[in-house]
Symmetry: C2
Subunit: 632 residues, 2 copies
């Protein structure tokens, strides 16, 4: 039954309320269970029926003396909880968080709808019964738990030993294994109040404890006894220095994961398959990203009142984010790009003018002509822009001169990137025409499709990304048609970077695709498999299940890089081995497919055969395309 209590509470109600004779009520509940869950299989039905019987068996009266309350805890108040928070969090968001939002005057809310970012960290939800605990001795320091945590609640840091002087007594650390950091210390730290307890980190941990084989380098333990201690550890951890981004080897997950996430503690479901991709995006590029977010799960957990999971780094830089409706989010994001480019163009024009003056010549030309291809380049350009702005501020210029505009426009001379993100309902269906149009503009935009293969947020309707044979709303007998091949469609254009990734199956491949997509000077499309509660799966093991998805060929890992053509190479690279696992084995680990074997077994068999055939055909086709000789 997991965390589900509806059946239990229903039994309690009817057992006590007396609206029906108890036997009759219970009989009706049992019939309803058989009817409601029948399609989901006998196992689910049995668990619910057992829950009814066990509820009745364990229902007992609890005497409470309301004259003698013994608890010391009280509801949080904005003043106590948000004492260290910014004013707006304390006075406005904090009130909403403690259910006092109705008392806020309209005047307290931002007139233009702009909300500060970085506020999710103030909303300590404490939803996890158990949280992961790190075992320093077993850990191989791969940082898989860090990259795959959907809530950015596990982080790693590398630092000098002398930073530990004031460490809390229980703060854990060990020697770094990575030779690039020899002599330094390494810590994996959990945010105890922000963790949702999904358990993915434990499931995907590759390090086994040799002494106790069922234990790993990270293990779940009750949160409550650990809460205060880990709060202190977390606060200490946050204040440890942040590594120099310009020195990290970004193609190594253990080093890349030292980058600060600028997306944390979202309200997504525990174990969400989408959020690790967004977190990675913000780690890599978040200090210079504009994100256009289509309506869907990601727009809800990305900007739900009262708090915002997008945040800023110590310099105050973080993603600018906005939600837009389903039907034209790609166009909305294209507008970001056009606007950035136009501002940069005007700033360049003004700077060229300024470069004619001897005083500015060197600085201006250096800003105009230095490439911005790496983190280090961008860091240096920011320094130059700061110097330019300071110089302009300190110099008397004619107040009517257009050069005045350069003060506000100079920041546009630092490279920024645009990410257009959303789910499959957005990309495959509702804005597909717009997405296609935007991808064909040739503009330097990056599109991230978090493909849950179903309209997740609106309640599980079938999209064109839904695979054949999966049950969804509007596809009650299993979707009769095959999943649309969005990547192959995008590849027909030839000048679009396309990647199909699944972080749970191969995280280093996902990382590579994000780096290449951003570096490609044109439109990029990343289609990212995102498991979802709508699939009827165990969310704890969902990341590992992505492996079976790829091994059965149901999801392909590939990258299509148009730049390779110039080198005489085939732009399409398949980044996986030939599928060996049967589709049947992989599919029927998901209840969205398994349900059909109960309700319509013959149809299920027919569709399964078709799916296996289509998976084989698709693999052959991709293999054939990837094997093609290409002339430059």
């Amino acid at each position: 039954m997991g965390g589900r209590i509806n059946t239990i509470m229903q039994v309690c109600f009817f057992a006590l309320a007396g609206v029906l004779p108890q036997d009759e009520a219970i009989q009706k509940i049992k019939s309803a269970i058989a009817k409601t869950y029948g399609k989901k299989g006998t196992d689910i039905v049995r668990k619910n029926l057992d829950a009814v019987d066990n509820t009745l068996a364990n229902l007992h009266k609890v005497d409470i003396n309301i004259q003698k309350l013994t608890s010391n805890s009280s509801l949080p108040t904005p003043n106590s909880t948000f004492i260290a928070a910014p004013e707006f969090v304390r006075d406005v968001l904090g009130k909403i968080m403690v259910w006092e939002g109705d008392n806020l005057p309209v005047s307290a809310l931002p007139a233009d709808g702009t909300f500060p970012t970085g506020t999710a960290k103030w909303e300590k939800r404490n939803v996890a019964a158990e949280i992961p605990v790190w075992d320093t001795d077993v850990c191989v320091q791969c940082s898989k738990c860090v990259i795959l945590c959907p809530h950015a609640a596990i982080r790693s840091k590398i630092y000098h030993e002398n930073e530990l002087t004031n460490a809390p007594q229980n703060f854990k650390f060990t020697n770094v294994r990575d030779k690039d950091f020899t002599g330094q210390k390494f810590t994996i730290q959990v945010a105890p109040e922000d963790c949702t307890g999904c358990g993915i980190c434990v499931d995907i941990c590759p390090a086994k404890n040799k002494a106790e084989p069922q234990r790993k380098a990270i293990n779940m333990e009750l949160q409550l006894p650990l809460r205060e201690q880990e709060k202190a550890n977390w606060d200490f951890f946050l204040n440890l220095p942040i590594p120099d981004r310009t020195k990290l080897k970004l193609n190594q997950i253990n080093q890349q994961q030292l980058q600060e996430p600028l997306f944390e503690f979202s309200g997504a479901c525990a174990g969400c398959g989408e959020t690790p991709y967004l977190k990675l995006l913000t780690q890599l590029f978040g200090d210079r990203s504009l994100i256009a977010n289509a309506t869907g799960c990601s727009s809800i957990y990305g900007g739900n009142l009262p708090t915002t999971p997008y945040t800023t780094n110590i310099d105050g830089r973080g993603p600018a984010w906005s939600n837009n409706l389903f039907e034209d989010n790609a166009e909305f994001g294209l507008g970001f790009r056009l606007s950035l480019d136009k501002h940069a163009e005007y700033a360049t024009e003004l700077l060229r003018e300024l470069a004619k003056e001897e005083e500015y010549k060197n600085l201006a030309n250096s800003i105009l002509n230095t490439p911005q291809n790496s983190e280090a380049d961008i860091w240096e350009q920011r320094e130059r822009i700061a110097l330019l702005k300071q110089t302009l501020e300190n110099t008397e210029t004619n107040p009517t001169s257009p050069i005045q505009n350069l003060k506000s426009l100079a920041d546009y001379l630092v490279k920024k990137n645009v990410w257009i993100v959303g789910g499959d309902g957005w990309a495959y269906d509702i804005d597909f025409g717009g997405l296609d149009h935007v991808l064909t503009t040739g503009k330097n935009i990056n599109v991230l499709v978090m493909d849950t293969e179903v309209y997740s947020n609106t309640g599980g309707q079938s999209s064109k990304a839904t695979p054949k044979a999966a049950i969804a709303k509007f596809a009650a007998s299993g979707k009769p048609s095959a999943k649309k091949d969005l990547g192959l469609i995008a590849m027909t254009y030839g000048n679009i970077y396309v990647a199909s990734v699944a972080m749970g199956a191969k995280d280093e491949h996902t990382l590579k695709a994000f780096l290449e997509a951003e570096a490609y000077d044109g439109p990029s499309l990343i289609i990212a498999y995102s498991h979802c509660i709508a699939h009827g799966i165990n969310m704890t093991t969902a990341m590992n299940h992505q492996k079976s998805l790829v091994e059965s060929g149901r999801w392909l890992l590939y990258r299509y890089n148009p730049d390779l053509v110039k080198q005489g190479k085939n732009p399409l690279q398949i980044d996986m081995k030939q599928p060996k696992q049967s589709v049947e084995n992989s599919m029927y680990q998901e209840n969205r497919f398994k349900m059909l074997t109960k309700s319509q077994p013959e149809l299920a068999k027919k569709l399964l055969d078709e799916v296996q055939n289509e998976v084989n055909t698709r693999w052959q086709m991709y293999e054939y395309l990837a094997a093609r000789q290409v002339n430059p």
Copy 2:
């Protein structure tokens, strides 16, 4: 200058009006010509400058004695012109045609917007200065002139000699060459008042007159001296019997073109590249088609007031046609299909009920179980339905019985087809998302994209179908990106029939594609190259120019038939030889490309090289895909 008179009339006005000194005015006109037409090349400029000089040299006074009018002709009146027409044509449309529409009361117009079809034939426009004249001795009876005529103004018939008894004196005929009709007579007849004089028929005629090599089996001659004689011939021709459709070999153009067009005399431009496709559609399937027409040229000439070119056959059967806006015409057409299917489903249900009665058993089962795969099958099914309706009419049934509904629903038991048609602006751009969605439903619909590679009707804006390097609105420096490969995108689904055709390049291939698309029990997409005045071409030679388009590889001819996979065959068949002609030679026959060589020669060269490279790459890709081994 062709039919253009603007420069000439402008010179006349300024020479006579005296608003400026004549020399100054003429000088300004000449400067304006150089500026306006400079981009179109020196040839166009020179022709206009010559026109100015020749106008001045030939401007002379014409004395008119308005007291002595000598002409006998008068403006037509509805009563005289439409004497044989249906009442609505005579009383309503006819008044609009003779400029008396303002006098019509609102009550005269159809309240629901439904207009009768088959009315274009009453609007005798007489726009051609010259019309084609058939030479019986030279003709090889291929019927290319019939299939390629954009206005259905040339037709062929085969009939028994004894039909000629009352033929007008000048009516032409000869012996049939086709052995299937040995002993019968053959006529090619022109509709003199409906022909637009485009000259395509002469240009594409493959038969040369050996005595006079510049003449062919069809030649242009002045219309006026021929008008009355050919009117009489046309009327006689129309009354000759129509061949038995069920006996024709539809894969032979000469026989297929004996099918009556149910789309005739539209208001499209003379030499239009789109209308021959629509005409063919109506010949093959028009008696059982529902057409959803996206806004664009085809919606304007397809249903412009006062008349409608869609018409009916002698049984009153013809296409049901409606225009829908750009943004959801595919969905609109899908609605036709769903509605047909639902009506047929209910009719089937009722008929199954009826089949339980002994009296109806045989007829009902025969209707329910006989396949409808050929013209003959459909003809027989119509006979059965007529019998059913008659029997139902003659039998007393309970007036509240659902069987009563069968009377109105029975016709849905005859197979009908849905055509969703429009231009590239609709299919590649504005409704691309909807088209994609409709194609993926798996429903039996047929989509015809008449690809002019530009928004023709709205004034020449660039669409995603516009080829690289072509000048169009919003692409004033030549379109920088390549043409979208709509066919390849559709092929990624695997279960969509796709054909890319160009009637002027290979008419028998177009015919084959239409037959296969309609026969395919699923979604079909035909992308049909349609030359257009917006291309800056000579419309008379435009059909032959399509050959150069294909020979240079700028347009591919292929068919992708998913049914072939079941036979273990590759579904993709390329229906042309490897391109041999250079793109340069083909492109620069069109002013849309040539203009750029004048305005930006370096850019033109760069884009030309890119296009040639892309054409080569695309050909290699298609060749590679078509060569692939496919496992069933």
